[in-house]
Amino acid sequence: MQDLLKVEGLQIAFGTSPVVRQVSFGLKPGETLGIVGESGSGKSVTALSIMGLLSHPGRITAGSITFRGQDLLTLPEDKRRGLRGSSMAMIFQEPMTCLNPVYTVGQQIGEVLTLHRGMDKRKALANAAEYLERVGIPDPAKRLRNFPHELSGGMRQRVMIAMALAGQPELLIADEPTTALDVTVQAQILDLLSDLQKDTGMAQLLITHDLGLVAEYAQRAIVMYAGQVVETGTVQELFEHPAHPYTQGLLQSLPLWGEAQDRLYSIPGTVPRNLNMEGCAFAARCPHVEAACHQSQHMLPVTATQSARCWRASSGKAKEVAQACQ
């Protein structure tokens, strides 16, 4: 199947300092791709650049983003605006920041329908109720007249999802969609998203720092560190045989319930501030660092579906490293 979205060699800089470097990945229709990384790893900036929402001083300095075979970066802004909110939609961590406090829920969902699907206002309002019902909001006709502040956090998140769905997107970017919610509500929202995905066949880009969520809801994932993709693979591969020392370190620093762990592993040091470096960005914190690490690193295949930005990855040493870690 052809990729719905293809990002190749994406570079983003804030002013002169690079924040995203050589990011490449593809996403097929109906698939969920997780993007994992810690704060500042460039995952949100990557998402914003796909949506065309990157704001000053951020700018794309190299690479291409292709959506349905169309190069988004050369597309005129008015065409791009047509895509945004209809073919591709994004939901955010904090729904209150993207819902307008002075319009009712019905007006805001209705706006998507009039703008992107050419409905008249009355029809849009009736349709909006349908979308509210689909995202599991009880008594949707009544809720249409509510303002965002009258709803709970989980309800607002549902309204935002309803708005995103109203445009019938083929690609949904979910940037930390449940970080602000309680666990039981988080489970409801993510189950809802995967049910909706089954119904509509949309592709999903799930951005999160929670490795557990990726394991449960994504089929493939990419791990980002210091603005680069350091590893990519199916979730099985990433969680069972991580090849990059950063992925290995992350997984080992997770507490797991049901197991006796006295101390947790912690990755020494901190994320480098200056990304204008030669060689592996993780070298300063890596327990297996060698001279070869200070040369520039490329994504090397580990299996047909997994690859890692580490020279050890494909040389069979990855297994040794993984064993040494355990």
Binding site: G154, V183, D210, S253, W257, G258
Partner: protein, 322 residues
């Protein structure tokens, strides 16, 4: 487990009602029972975790134990002595013995003071007799921060380092109890593990009792010996962590455990998805407070409040089904 040590703090029937006021003259029109009849003990070298969703009252419990909020009802005994919350003397004794560590350390550090000054402040307030600078150096060393960091300002630090500073400041008055309110929720995974290790080391070396508030169940499993699960102001299940995590008896505990995502791909999910959200504490449901969301509610659940039942081994559950 070894012979149980004397508890450093005993809490029984702790209750907090926030009055609701309305209108021009702020007439009281009722109250929110944020914390309702909560009892537990904190032992030296042991961690009790309070688990629950937002609004369940876990932070209010910590604020009362730190002397920041006055309980409406209930008793708190510190080292066997009952505290009088209206006595200034007792309150300041409590504030010396129990210190809080907050979720967002940046919000609790004065941006215009160097972090050394921030950590020194409690020493000045308490009239520390020795060399204060020496003590600040000791505190920074205890949380593994270099001496050169003492003269820096909060904005120069990363989130994990700020949390270390928050912990150093909490240690300044030489407390017995640390009340940690979501201390790692704002941190990245790799930094979270550093802070958790630090908290464990400090406890092993200095024998603190921790009240650890979190909604992150793997973290709770890692750090605690005792767990209490709260729902709408009440403890619905409590006991040793093995009992609560491995043989949960309350449907809410089971749902929480099932909803907590685990980094094991392909795991067959036993998902008990709860319907709806936590009801407003202003108007809690009658009977069992959980019955509106409970997947296995009986008719009796909406009428009679369940009594706490001892399941043996300190495992206590408040559910009609158990």
């Amino acid at each position: 487990m070894s012979v149980a040590k004397q508890p450093v703090m005993e809490v029984s029937g702790l209750t907090k009602v926030f009055p609701l006021r309305k209108g021009l003259f702020s007439r009281p029109v009722g109250g929110v029972r944020a914390v309702d009849n909560v009892s537990f003990q904190l032992r030296p070298g042991e961690t009790l975790a309070l688990v629950g969703e937002s609004g369940c009252g876990k932070t209010t419990v910590a604020r009362m134990l730190a002397g920041l909020e006055k309980p409406t009802d209930g008793q708190v005994a510190l080292n066997g002595e009952l505290l009088d919350f209206s006595s200034k003397q007792d309150l300041s004794a409590l504030q010396l013995r129990a210190q809080m560590v907050f979720q967002d350390p940046y919000a609790t550090l004065n941006p215009r003071l160097t972090v050394g000054q921030s950590v020194e402040e409690p020493l000045i307030v308490r009239g520390f007799p020795g060399n204060r600078l020496e003590r600040v150096r000791e505190l920074f060393a205890a949380v593994s921060l270099g001496e050169e960091t003492i003269k820096r300002y909060p904005h120069e630090f990363s989130g994990g380092q700020r949390q270390r500073i928050g912990i150093a400041r909490a240690l300044a008055s030489n407390p017995d109890i640390l009340l940690c309110d979501e201390p790692t929720s704002a941190l990245d995974v790799s930094v979270q593990s550093q802070v958790l290790n630090l908290l464990k080391e400090l406890q092993q070396e200095l024998g603190f009792a921790y009240l650890f508030i979190s909604h992150n169940l793997p973290v709770v499993w890692h750090i605690s010996q005792q767990v209490a699960v709260m729902y709408l102001g009440q403890v619905v299940e409590s006991g040793p962590r093995e009992a609560v995590f491995l043989s949960p008896a309350h449907p809410y505990t089971r749902a929480l455990l099932a909803a907590s995502p685990k980094p094991l791909p392909g795991r067959k999910r036993e998902r008990i998805t709860l319907q709806g959200e936590v009801p407003s504490p202003m108007n809690p449901p009658a009977g069992c407070r959980f019955h509106t969301r409970c997947p296995m509610a009986l008719p009796v659940c909406s009428e009679v409040e369940p009594q706490a039942k001892n399941m043996g081994g300190g495992h206590v559950v408040a559910c009609h089904r158990s």
